[in-house]
Structure formats: C-alpha cells, structure tokens
C-alpha cells in the first residue's frame, strides 16, 4: 500500500460483502417462493424479500464503489486522502442507516414504515429500487456529498489522472441523478419518465464511467501496461457508453406513455449499447496480452477479464436480444427482463467490485503480491462457480421468458393463457433457476472461505527467507 489512508477502504469492502451475502440469501428465498408460492409468505412476503434483494445489491455496490474510490484515488493522486476521519465517520453513518433501513423492511409492514418515516411530507417511497424511506434517501445524498468532497479535495491536491477524473465524473453523475428520486408527482407517467433518470442514467450511464475507471486502474496495476494506452481505451469506451446510452434511454419509453419517436430512437441507440462492452472485452484481453510482468495476484486479473466478458454478455448480448421495439413489445416485463437484469448487474457491477476487492484486499492485509496460492485456488473455484451459477440462472430465466411470451403474450385475447396459469406451466425452469442459485451460493461460500486461507508452511518459510534477505 503506497498511502496509509488507502486502508479506509477496508471496512467498506467488508460491509459490502456482508450485504452481498444478505442479498443472495433473500434471492434464494424468492427463488423458492417462485415455486412454493406461500413459502414463509406470512413472515417474509415476496415484496419484502425482493426489496431486500435489490436494495442490498444497490447498497453493496455503492459501498464497493466507495471503497474502490478511497483505495484508488490517493494512489492515483499520489497523496494521502484529504480526510480519512471523514471517510470513517461516513462509513458508520452509511452502515447504520443501511442496517436500520433493512431492519425496517424486514420487521415493519411497509405502509407502517412509510407512516413512521413521515413519507407524506415528501412522498418518495414505494417505487421499484427507490423503496427506501425519504430519510434514508436524504442520508444517501449527504453521505455521497461528503464522499465526493473528500475525493475531490484529494484529487485537487494531487496528481490528476484520467482514471481519477473519469471516476469522479461518474460519482458526481451518480449523486446528481439520484436527486430525481425526490421527484414523485401524482402523474404516474411523469413519475416513470424521471424515475429512469435515476435508474437508467445510473446503470447504463454514469456507472459505466465508474466501471471503466476501476477496470482501467486494476489493469494498469496488474499488467504494467503504459498508462497512455490504457487511458486511450478508457476514453473511447466511456465515449461510446454515453453516446449510445443517453438516447438509448428511449428503450424504456416504449410502453409507458411517451410518444412514438422513442420507438425508433430507443431501438437504434440501444442497439449500439453493446459496443462499449465489446470494446471493454477487447481492451482487457489486449492489455493482458501486452502485459509487462506476471503479477503474483493472478485472481485480480482473472476477475478483471471476467468482468469484461460477463458484462458484455449480460449488459450487451442479453440487453440486445430484447431491446428492439417490435421484439420488446412481446418481451417487456417478462422473465427475459429478469434474466438480463441478473446477468448485467452481476457481470458489470458486482464483478467490478469483486475485482477491486480481489486486487486491493491482499495489499491492505500486507500481501502486495496477492494471497497465498491455496487461497487463490479457492478464489478461482469461487469465481467459476459464481459465474457458471449466474449464467445458469440467466439461461433458465431466458427460456422461462420465451415460454412465457409464447403462452401469454403472442396469442390473442381468446387464446392467451393467464399470467398465473403461465407461471404454473413454466415452473420447471424455476426449479433450474433455484438449482443454479444454490450453485451460486456455494461459490459465494467458497469466496468467503478464501479470505481465511493462510500460507502453507513451505510458503511461510520462503517468505521469511525473502524478508531476511532484503
């Protein structure tokens, strides 16, 4: 570790991983409820489990982005963090607020939670992914502002690299677009239109800047390739992401009220959204081919390459298959949407956080060349198990979605099967999804286990030898 203050990232990563585990547990519960509809329904109804599943995801990714930024910015700026104390205080504020919100979801009926948190003063709750009480949302804004201030001051004081400037642009965008979550008019159509300013402009906009910056940083570190080369790639990738993604928002405006020209604009621009993700694959593999040394932390490079491939599949390929308006007319809001959501979030954003954790945690634990070989072997097993598990979930849901469209959407009024009858018909695919979910969970346990795997005696003595020599 080059700068002492980089270690404030550690609690952020640990807490992120705890929330990740929670997310998966509620995912497994929902996977079960998809088959046995009344399973635990009295205690944890589906809507509560789903809120916890998606909100924990968003929160752990935010914790991950913050940890990544606190680790990466001082190193890029070549100076200590402006205020490590502020970073620590904000960590506790954010962690406590997250846990309190999760507890609220779990133990208080949602309508009661809205009442207790005075939602009627500024109603923002009850919209997908933005279920947090208004007070939590205000807390998120405050934490983000403090966080961006801290990073901004660090960058201003130190070296200004393309990586850190792209990263902070993405983070500022994240904070700015989140403000649309406070706009909730009586008109559902306006509500939906600007709801996407948070959701789409995050995941298909500014988050891609954050993803690109973290990926570029990790690749610089583990391949030793010249910064000039990597920064050029980064610029081209984020340029394509925004050029395609901004108007690509139109693919969400097909069937929620806005006018017909969005059918064209949304189809054309979102059809080019896979390009930046494809370039990310070329980028990662090209840079790996040109690497100047073999970094001891092989898993960090594996995660980085894996991120590019899985993000391309999830966000690129699985996005494209249902983005054209004539196809989306039949697939909108089906299990195909769910399939895309799972692979895209995991491949792009979960995996980039796991990448930076894999690179930085060993460093923060005093192992600059990565974890011991045994730990890396377990982590490699975890990598493949989680990736294959997630691909399995995605394929099962895709088949479920196609079947759903055939039974429920394509036939006319007289012939179409009802939603509930369709769900019964496609149940075998939900079994497959649950099985792959369990596989993913096994991978997750292995991943956690890899953190507790020390050196073998042989490695231990080698290390002592090297230390005495130097």
């Amino acid at each position: 570790m080059k700068f002492e203050s980089q270690s404030v990232a550690k609690p952020y990563f640990i807490f992120a991983l705890i929330l990740f585990a929670g997310q998966i547990l509620f995912g497994l519960l929902m996977g079960t409820q998809y088959i046995f509809g009344d399973f635990l329904a009295e205690y944890i109804p589906f809507n509560v489990a789903r809120m916890l599943h998606t909100n924990m995801l968003i929160l752990w990714l935010l914790f991950g982005f913050m940890g990544a930024s606190y680790f990466l910015v001082p190193e890029e700026a070549e100076t200590e963090l402006y205020s490590p104390l502020l970073a620590k205080v904000l960590f506790w504020v954010f962690a406590v607020a997250s846990l309190a919100t999760a507890a609220g979801y779990l133990f208080v009926p949602y309508a009661k939670l809205a009442e207790l948190t005075f939602n009627e003063l500024l109603p923002t709750m009850g919209r997908e992914f933005l279920e947090q009480p208004t007070i939590t949302k205000i807390g998120i804004v405050i934490v983000c502002l403090g966080f961006i201030f801290n990073l901004g001051m660090t960058i201003l004081r130190g070296r200004k690299t393309v990586v850190s400037l792209v990263l902070i642009t993405g983070l500022i965008g994240l904070a700015v677009f989140f403000l649309f979550s406070f706009y909730n008019p009586d008109n559902l159509i306006l509500d939906k239109y600007f709801w996407w300013f948070v959701v789409h402009l995050w995941v298909e906009g500014v988050w891609e800047l954050i993803l690109g910056a973290i990926l570029a940083f990790t690749l610089i570190k583990v391949t030793g390739v010249d910064r000039e080369v990597i920064e050029k790639w980064l610029y081209v990738i984020i340029a394509m992401a925004l050029i395609s993604g901004l108007i690509g928002m139109g693919h969400h405006y097909f069937w929620i009220g806005p006018g017909e020209y969005w059918l064209w604009l949304g189809s054309i621009f979102s059809a080019i959204e896979p390009i930046p993700f494809f370039m990310m694959v070329l980028f990662a593999f090209n840079v790996t081919k040109q690497r100047r040394f073999e970094h001891g932390n092989q898993m960090a490079l594996t995660w980085a390459l894996g991120t590019s491939v899985m993000a391309f599949l999830g966000a690129g390929v699985w996005g494209f298959i249902h983005t054209l308006a004539p196809i989306n007319y039949f697939t909108h809001g089906s299990q195909i949407t769910a399939a895309h959501g799972h692979l895209a979030f995991f491949g792009a954003y979960a995996m980039i956080v796991l990448t930076i954790i894999s690179y930085s945690m060993p460093i923060m634990c005093g192992r600059p060349q990565g974890n011991p070989a045994g730990a890396q072997r377990i982590e490699r097993f975890a990598f493949w198990t989680m990736c294959i598990g997630m691909l399995g979930i995605t394929i099962a849901l895709t088949i479920a979605g196609v079947w759903q469209v055939v039974l429920q959407r394509i036939p006319d009024d007289a012939e179409a099967l009802s939603f509930m009858a369709t769900q019964d018909a496609i149940e075998p695919l939900y079994w497959a999804r649950l099985a792959f979910g369990v596989m993913f969970f096994v991978g997750l346990i292995a991943y956690f286990a890899s953190f507790f795997f020390g050196y073998s005696e042989q490695e231990e003595s080698n290390l002592t030898a090297t230390t005495t020599e130097s």
């Binding site: 279920e131 009586d186 959407r409 394509i410």
Partner: protein, 148 residues
C-alpha cells in the same frame, strides 16, 4: 488501437459526444413534456386517482406486480387490469376490486399469496380509480393482449 488515433482524439470524442447527446436528451425530454398531456390525460387525475397512487406506493404493490410492464414479475400486470376484469364498466371493475381485496389472502396451499392490506372501502375505490386512469394512458397499445 491504431497509433495515429491519439489519446487527445479519444478524449475529444468523449467530451463532444457526451455533451452533444446529453443536450439532445434534454431537448427530447422537453418535447416529450409538451406531448405527454395529450397521451396521459392528466386532466382526469382526480383526488381519488392521486390517492390511489399514494396507496399503490405505500403498500409496495410494485414489489410483486408490474404496472405498464415495470416492477416485479411475481404477480400479474396491473396497468391493464381494468381491461381484464372491468368488461368496459367502472362499476363492474370496482365491485370486483372490493371483493378481491377483501378475500386476501386466499390461503390456497402452494399458491403465491397476496397479503391482506386492510384497506377501507374508500381506499379500494381510490386504488381502482388509479388503475382505471392508468389503463387509459396512450402507451402505444401495450400489452399485446388483455392477459398483460
């Protein structure tokens, strides 16, 4: 990447491209705001419709259902539920809603369970009005059939 394509050129494409398309998005948003009143019929948003939306949110309906295809995919689409159960009549639909909401949870073993939300008759009326208003928005004829 080719050497004659420099980092400066890449940076300019990023700045130029993102500023241009962001401004285009703002322009299109402005145009959509002018067009929407004709499509969403906001003049019909009564107090009951607004209250219905509030109930929809405060009970996290979107945690199981979808509305205009957005939300969760665990329970039926409700953007067109008036079309599905109303038979063209608001009275029929409201009668259906009152009895359906009162019947929950159905307690059919293994069936997906809708909780009992203990809404008053007036609240179910508001919720129905909200769903009726939603079904009349011009959304390019989605869903393809009444099953949603």
């Amino acid at each position: 990447m080719a050497d004659n394509f420099t980092k400066g050129m890449a940076r300019n494409i990023y700045y130029g491209g993102s500023v241009f398309f962001f401004l285009l998005l703002m322009g299109l948003t402005f145009d959509t705001m002018l067009e929407l009143p004709k499509r969403d019929h906001r003049e019909n948003i009564t107090e009951a419709v607004a209250h219905g939306k509030e109930l929809w949110e405060n009970n996290n309906c979107v945690g199981c259902h979808s509305i205009m295809g957005e939300g969760a995919y665990f329970a039926p689409e409700l953007g067109n539920v008036f079309v599905r159960y109303g038979n063209g009549s608001e009275e029929t639909f409201e009668a259906f809603m009152q009895s359906w909401m009162a019947m929950q949870p159905l307690n059919v073993p293994n069936r997906r369970q809708m909780p009992q939300f203990n809404l008053s008759e007036e609240e179910v009326h508001s919720l129905s009005q909200f769903l009726i208003w939603t079904s009349r928005v011009n959304n390019n004829d989605w869903p393809p059939n009444k099953q949603g």
